[in-house]
Amino acid sequence: MVRVKSPQDFWAGILFICFGVLALFLGHNYAFGTATRMGPGFLPTTLSWILVILGLIIVFRGLTFDGTAIPPGRLRPQIFVLAGIVLFGLLIERVGLAPTVFVSGLVAAFASQEVNWKEAFLLAAGAAILSVVLFIYLLGQSMTPWMWSP
């Protein structure tokens, strides 16, 4: 039975192999060309193979040498931070800057465990007003402040 001795190395290796294989698969019909006239597939294919080989070596090391464990993670920060970014992307062209900043700021605030409703609400509202003043009026970027503006 094989035992993973260094989870960090092992999984990093797996990740590199996945990326390499994915790139090989996506790039399998880019013309390789010849050494003199390198096609669009020359470098991607070469690099992908190197990546796969390096990945294999790293996996091997992860199985043979003792190493660091993967530091434990918590899902809460990731989910709320990601939700904040994604909401920003989805809303910005639909409802304008102020409501977008308010919503994504409010959601993102919950990534922290120390959050409280009142504070997050005030923070999001303040950020919404400030960002309109800063980005639209002072820096003149072309975004609508809110959906009802002409």
């Binding site: 990093a12 003199t36 470098l43 990546l51 790293i58 920060p77 920003f88 992307g89 700021g105 997050a120």
Partner: protein
């Protein structure tokens, strides 16, 4: 003197009231964001980059220079006051800077860092002014094979300087190169790895990539940890170093500047290397070695000056060869490209005003930093006391607006979300993002030069060893690789990153 005549042209172009204002705003914003815990210079510059889009090329570069120095200084401030290094090069500052702060000498440490950096910045500027034209003349001999070998050397250096496992750093460089190839292959007119998404035809945009890898990945990591109590921030009594402290600091600053100016020119993380080298030197020649790690003045003065001198002279490979040698320089290339400026040999001959104006602006940026930041230290300290739960939503919004405003594209915002997950995973798996970023920037350049070399040599790879400059560069890369393999160096390297 030619150098001074050229510098005069530069100052004439750079020192206008409007430009000074932009530089001031840049410095202030750079420090403001750079001082926030968990945000290093790379994320700071990437975040503030969109602000400069609307300006004319020279003003925008001047503002960027301001942001860059501000961000660096902000990083040193957090390193000294709360023991949080924003980037690898201020790891060293943490060691003795934070100890000085704990002894109640935070003000002195900050002043020494600021004045040392200013002095180093002045020297660095003169070095650039004196050597850039010489190197640019030399660079005219460079053809594709030389460029390729030089970039290879830069990547090897980035791997050697990455902390942690070497082989993982190599894999990260390769992965970065692959990411850099996403988009249209201009020579064959084929799109690669785009999944049919038209926003990817021009490649992955640099800004969301950098913010995802360095901004958000860090943010998620920070939110997981129980952040230490911020009330531990040290109080600042007096800003001025005592006579004894000054006596120790001055020679250290001089030595640091010398080391930094020289090492910064080498591609591949000059600033990091210089602060490590300076710290080692100071420790070696100091008469009170026991003080190191317990708040030695030289341990702050030397590395901080070396760091800044290195940061300054690392502009040389960028301005003369068009090759970014550090991730920060990579962002500068991105910014210059957006302004329609192609950094490289042609810049000096075709746009001398811009070239010298930029060099002059570096000096102005350094000066501005000392003038505005010493009186404002109190403000930055106050900012450090703002709890993280209030800061990070603001950082998130800044990054989102920044990514969106590059090309008014929601795709970039969503891409940034995806990349931050990737960055988080990399961090968890102990994979360094800096080599990845350098590979990403150099990917397309390397492919182009490799192709051209191969056309030149009719497909024979021996062209890289037949040309003398290229051969020397390859030898240097090989020497670096041998260095890591050698056990004695390996040990020093591990020690250096242990501290």
């Amino acid at each position: 003197m030619d150098v001074f005549a050229n510098l005069a042209t530069g100052f004439g172009a750079a020192v206008t009231p409007a430009n000074l204002l932009f530089c001031l705003i840049g410095c202030l914003l750079g420090t403001l964001v750079g001082v926030l815990p968990g945000i290093g210079p790379i994320a700071t510059i990437a975040m503030l980059l969109p602000i400069t889009f609307g300006l004319d090329p020279l003003s925008s570069l001047i503002m960027l220079a301001g942001i860059y120095y501000g961000a660096q200084y902000g990083g040193s401030t957090t390193a000294i006051l709360v023991n949080l290094p924003g980037e690898t090069s201020s790891v060293i500052t943490c060691i003795d800077g934070y100890q000085m702060a704990r002894r109640g000498r935070a003000g002195a440490a900050l002043t020494i860092a600021a004045l040392g950096s200013f002095f180093a910045g002045c020297v660095g500027t003169i070095v650039i002014a004196a050597f850039a034209p010489v190197l640019a003349g030399f660079a005219e001999k460079f053809r594709s094979p030389e460029y390729f070998s030089l970039m290879l050397f830069g990547l090897v250096a980035a791997v050697v300087l990455a902390n942690g496992s070497v082989i993982k750093a190599v894999a990260m460089v390769i992965l970065g190169l692959l990411f850099g190839l996403v988009g249209t292959d201009t020579q064959a007119g084929v799109t690669r790895f785009t999944f049919g998404v038209s926003e990817l035809y021009d490649g992955i945009d640099f800004v969301p990539l950098a913010m995802g890898l360095f901004g958000f990945a860090e943010m998620m990591g920070n939110l997981e940890k129980k952040l230490e109590d911020r009330s531990s921030t040290q109080k600042i009594d007096s800003l001025w170093p005592t006579r004894e402290e000054a006596k120790l600091a001055v020679p250290a600053v001089l030595r640091g500047t010398l080391i930094g100016s020289f090492l910064g020119i080498l591609p591949g993380g000059g600033a990091v290397l210089s602060s490590f080298a300076s710290y080692t030197l100071e420790k070696k020649i100091s008469r009170s070695k026991a003080m190191f790690g317990k708040g030695a003045v030289e341990g702050v003065a030397g590395p901080e000056s070396a760091n800044n001198a290195g940061a300054q002279t690392s502009f040389i490979p960028l301005l003369t060869l068009g090759i970014p040698s550090t991730p920060v320089m990579a962002i500068m290339v991105g910014a210059m490209m957006i302004q329609g400026i192609a950094p490289g040999t042609a810049l000096l001959t075709e746009k001398p005003t811009l070239f010298w104006g930029m060099i002059a602006s570096m000096w102005v940026g350094n000066l501005m930093l000392v003038i505005i930041n010493l009186p404002l230290i109190g403000l930055w300290v106050a900012l450090l006391k703002v709890p993280y739960r209030l800061l990070f939503p603001c950082i998130l919004i800044l990054c989102c607006v920044g990514a969106y405003s590059i090309s008014s594209s929601t795709f970039l915002v969503l891409l940034m979300a995806g990349i931050s997950v990737l960055g988080y995973v990399f961090n968890k798996l102990g994979c360094e993002c800096a080599p990845f970023l350098l590979g990403f920037v150099l990917g397309p350049l390397m492919e182009e030069n490799l192709r051209r070399s191969m056309v030149l040599s009719f497909g024979s790879p021996t062209i890289f060893v037949e040309r003398p400059i290229s051969l020397v560069l390859l030898f240097m890369s090989l020497a670096l690789i041998l260095l890591i393999v050698l056990p004695s160096f390996r040990k020093t390297r591990e020690d250096a990153f242990q501290e």
